[in-house]
Every structure is written in C-alpha cells, then in structure tokens.
Symmetry: C2
Subunit: 118 residues, 2 copies
C-alpha cells in the first residue's frame, strides 16, 4: 500500500456554500484542491484566509477582485493569491464557470469563515 | 499591491523534459503547479520526490504506476500521491493527455532528479 488515493470529481460530494456556487473538495496532507462551479450571476464575497491560493480557470469567465484590484480571468488563466489577501469573485457573463483552486497549507476550515463585507 | 500574480498557460515557457512530454510551471510560495501535455506513446519514468503531488487529469487517458500499483485515469479523475512514493506514467491511448499537477511544498528542483530505473 502506497497511501495514494484516486478520486473522480463526479463522485465527490457537492456543497452549495453560496447561491449558485457548488464546491467539491479533496484534501492532501499539504494542500487542498477545490473544484468550484459558478452559475451566471453568482458572487463569492470578498474574504481572506491564511493559505496561499492558486486558482486555475477551466471554463467560463470570472471577475476577481484581489487586494482591491479587479482582474477578469478566462480559460487557461491562473491567479496566484498569497495568504491573507482579501479576494472575491463575480460571474458577470452568461456562461457557468469552472475553476480548480489549490490551497496550501491544506484548509480544513470553511472558506466563508474569513468573509468580510464587500 | 497585493502581491498576487496572474498568468496564461499559453504565455508560459514550455520545456520538453522527456520525448513527447511538455511541461510548464507556476510557483507559489507554498506550492508548485505544473501543466503537462503528453503525446501518445510518451513515458514518464518511475521517479519520486519529497513533495506531495495531486494530479488532475483534464483530457485524455493516462496509465499511472504508483507505489507499484497500476491505475488508469481519465478526464475528471484525480490522484493524490504522498511524498516519497515512486510513480510514473505512460500514455497508452491515441489521444494526447493534459494534466495539472500541484505539488507542495513548492518544488524548485528538476523532477527528473529523482528518476530511477523502471
């Protein structure tokens, strides 16, 4: 036994932490990978967490606010967000958005705990 | 300035560490994300490294050997490989394969340094 594990996203439990936003999570020992699907019009409020976050956009277009600056990312684009930096996202277009977010160190709390008013 | 950075994979330098395998790398402070594209027939020999690796298959089908066990992964499938576990991959089908691999702690050495004979 190597301790390795395999998963299929389609078999991983989904939660809906915010309206129109579904989340699936895989934890390693050192990092957490989250698959988010955002419906058009959905909003992930500005929040922050101590983990470094790397967001990889797989499909759709999503407007991020990171450290007070706006950036719109589409498929094949990546954001590296240092720990502690306030960030949020809004889907302004008509397509759903799929992202993979990898966070390190791994994240066992709820990402909405760090939410702050926009 | 928040210290956040954005990237487009299409603008990131590619290397070809092995025949038919291209690699692009983004480093955070705590994790390294690598985009690999594997041509049909390409082989990534068994190797190991101290970092935990999470491999996310975006397209195509790829046969991994992890800790001596074989597993074939396709789109939407994920492998979590603890640090130190020998692993390698072979593309047995006719489609090219795209994966995102995230490693933590971040990885500044060459992943072939840990290569061992198969």
């Amino acid at each position: 036994m190597s301790g390795s594990r395999t998963f299929r996203w389609e078999e991983i439990e989904q939660s809906e932490p915010l309206p129109g936003i579904t989340r699936q999570t895989i934890h390693g020992d050192h990092q957490t990978v989250v698959r988010y699907v955002y419906a058009p019009g959905s909003v992930f409020p500005i929040h922050h967490h101590p983990q470094e976050q790397i967001t990889l956009v797989l499909s759709g277009s999503i407007a991020f606010t990171v450290g007070g600056e706006r950036v719109v990312l589409g498929p094949g684009e990546v954001a590296v967000i240092p720990g502690g930096i306030p960030h949020g996202a809004t889907v302004e277009g008509r397509e759903r958005v799929v992202t993979l977010n990898t966070m390190s160190p791994r994240r066992l709390d709820d990402p909405l705990d760090g939410q702050q008013s926009t």
